[in-house]
Amino acid sequence: MNEPVHVTDAAFEKFVLQSTLPVIVDFWAPWCGPCRMVAPILDRIAKEQDGKLIVAKVNTDENNQWAIKYGVQGIPTLFFIAKGKVVHKQVGALPEPNLKDMVSRFLESVTILN
C-alpha cells in the first residue's frame, strides 16, 4: 500500500488491529491545520515504507469511536500500532526528519519484538 488508507470505525479492528504489518494511525480532521501539515509527510512515509508498514487515516469528524476509545483529545495524534498493541503515541505534528526517525525506531522495535 504505497499511500495512506482512510479507515472508518467499522473497518478499524480488521484493518488496523488485525493487520500483519505495523500500522501508523493518524487521527485527523479536515479543518485542523497541524493535520494538513503532517499529511504530506505521511504520504511520503507510506510510499517509502511500502510493504513494511501501513499508514491509516481516521477522520475524527466522521469516525470518532476509536479516537474516544484511545482517549484522543488533540489532533493530529499518531498511534504506532503493531499486532493490535499501541507501541508509541505522538501528539501534534512533527517536522519530517523527526517523524521519519520515529518511524525508523518504531520499525526497529517491531523487528525486535518479532
Binding site: T8, G33, P34, Q73, I75
Partner: protein, 330 residues
C-alpha cells in the same frame, strides 16, 4: 479487501490556492512595513498575523517617539495605520496562527491553522513575545487536555468545562470559538485588564458561558492521565483549585517566537535568529526582521526600518537584481 474506506482528502481541504510572491509571518511594525515596500513594488504580498494585540506594539498604550507621529496614539492605532497603508498598495492580511513552515523547498509553504500559504519568498517577523517556560503539568498533559489550538481540539471538549489562559485577542477569539462546544470557559487573564480591541472584550464579557478571572495566573495543570483541574492564584486572593477537563494556553512571554520554524534556521542560545546585512537568513529568499533578531533594539521605528530593508531586498532577490534599487520618485 473490504476496507470500508472513508472519503479521500479533497484538494480544497489542503487550503492551497495561489502562489504569492512573498508571505510575511507577523503583522507588527516590521512585518507591516515590509508589506508596504513589497506591495508597493508590485509583489503579491500576504501578511499572516494572529491579531492586532498579539505583539508588543499592539499592546503598547501610547507611542510618543515614532518619527512623524507627533500626537500621542496607541500602539494598536499606529499599527492599524501601517497595515492600512500596506493594504492601500494591495497587500492582503489574514488572521491565522502559523504552526509550521517548509522553507527549504524552492517554493516555500507556510502552514497555518486555517490553511496553507505558498510563496517564492518569506519574511519572518513574529516578534519576541514567546514563552520560555512551561507551567507545571503542561508538557506532560499535552494532548490529554492541554491544547494550543481551540479550532483543532474544541470538539473533544463538548459539554465540558475548560480553562483558557491569555490576554490577547487570539486568546479571546479562541475562547469564543470554544463556547460553541463546551459548557463553560474559565478565562484566566494574567493581567488586570484584557489587551484586545474593545468589541472582543465586550463579546467575551457578555458571553453567558464565560467566567472571566482578571489578574489570574495559572500555576499548575493537574491530572494523572488527563487534565482534571488547574491551580491558580488571583491577585489579593488565596490560591484556588478549579476542576476542568481542558486547558487552552495562549500566554505570552519575552522570547523570540520561532517554534514554528522547527529548527530549519539557526538560532542563538537566547533563541534569536541570525541574519545578514539585508536581513536574509541562511536560506535564500527567507528573511527575518524585528524583535526576533539578535542585537536588536526593541523600538517600533527600528523594526519598521528593518522591515523596509527586507522588503526591498525581497524585491531584489525575486527580480534577480544584484543591487538594491531605492525608489525615490513614486
Amino acid at each position: 479487501m473490504d476496507l470500508n474506506v472513508a472519503k479521500q482528502i479533497k484538494p480544497a481541504d489542503a487550503g492551497i490556492s495561489i502562489i504569492y510572491d512573498v508571505v510575511i509571518i507577523g503583522g507588527g511594525p516590521a512585518g507591516a512595513t515590509a508589506a508596504i515596500y513589497t506591495s508597493r513594488a508590485g509583489l503579491s504580498t500576504l501578511v499572516i498575523d494572529k491579531g492586532l494585540t498579539a505583539g508588543a506594539l499592539g499592546i503598547t498604550g501610547k507611542i510618543a517617539n515614532y518619527p512623524g507621529v507627533f500626537e500621542e496614539i496607541s500602539g494598536a492605532e499606529l499599527l492599524e495605520r501601517m497595515r492600512n497603508q500596506a493594504r492601500s498598495f494591495g497587500a492582503e492580511f489574514i488572521s491565522d496562527k502559523v504552526i509550521g513552515t517548509d522553507l527549504l523547498s524552492e517554493v516555500k509553504t507556510v502552514f497555518g491553522n486555517a490553511g496553507n500559504y505558498i510563496s517564492h519568498a518569506v519574511i519572518i517577523a513574529t516578534g519576541s513575545m514567546g514563552r520560555g517556560t512551561h507551567i507545571k503539568g503542561e508538557e506532560e498533559l499535552l494532548g490529554h487536555g492541554v491544547s494550543y489550538c481551540a479550532t483543532c481540539d474544541a470538539a473533544f471538549f463538548r459539554n465540558q468545562e475548560v480553562v483558557v489562559a491569555g490576554s490577547s485577542d487570539e486568546a479571546i477569539e479562541e475562547a469564543l470559538f470554544l463556547t460553541r462546544f463546551v459548557s463553560r470557559v474559565q478565562f484566566f487573564c494574567p493581567t488586570p485588564e484584557l489587551k484586545a480591541p474593545q468589541h472582543l472584550i465586550d463579546e467575551l464579557s457578555e458571553n453567558p458561558k464565560v467566567t472571566l478571572y482578571k489578574g489570574a495566573s495559572l500555576r499548575e495543570i493537574k491530572g494523572q492521565t488527563r487534565v482534571e483541574a488547574v491551580r491558580f492564584v488571583q491577585r489579593g486572593q488565596p490560591e484556588q483549585i478549579l476542576p476542568v477537563t481542558g486547558a487552552f494556553i495562549y500566554l505570552q512571554g519575552g522570547r523570540p517566537i520561532t517554534d514554528y520554524l522547527q529548527g530549519q534556521l539557526e538560532t542563538s542560545p537566547t533563541g534569536c535568529l541570525v541574519v545578514d546585512s539585508e536581513y536574509q537568513t541562511a536560506i535564500p529568499r527567507v528573511f527575518a526582521v524585528g524583535d526576533l533578531l539578535c542585537n536588536h533594539i526593541k523600538q517600533a521605528v527600528v523594526a519598521a526600518g528593518e522591515g523596509a530593508v527586507a522588503g526591498i531586498a525581497v524585491e531584489k532577490a525575486l527580480r534577480g537584481r544584484k543591487q538594491m534599487l531605492v525608489d525615490w520618485s513614486k
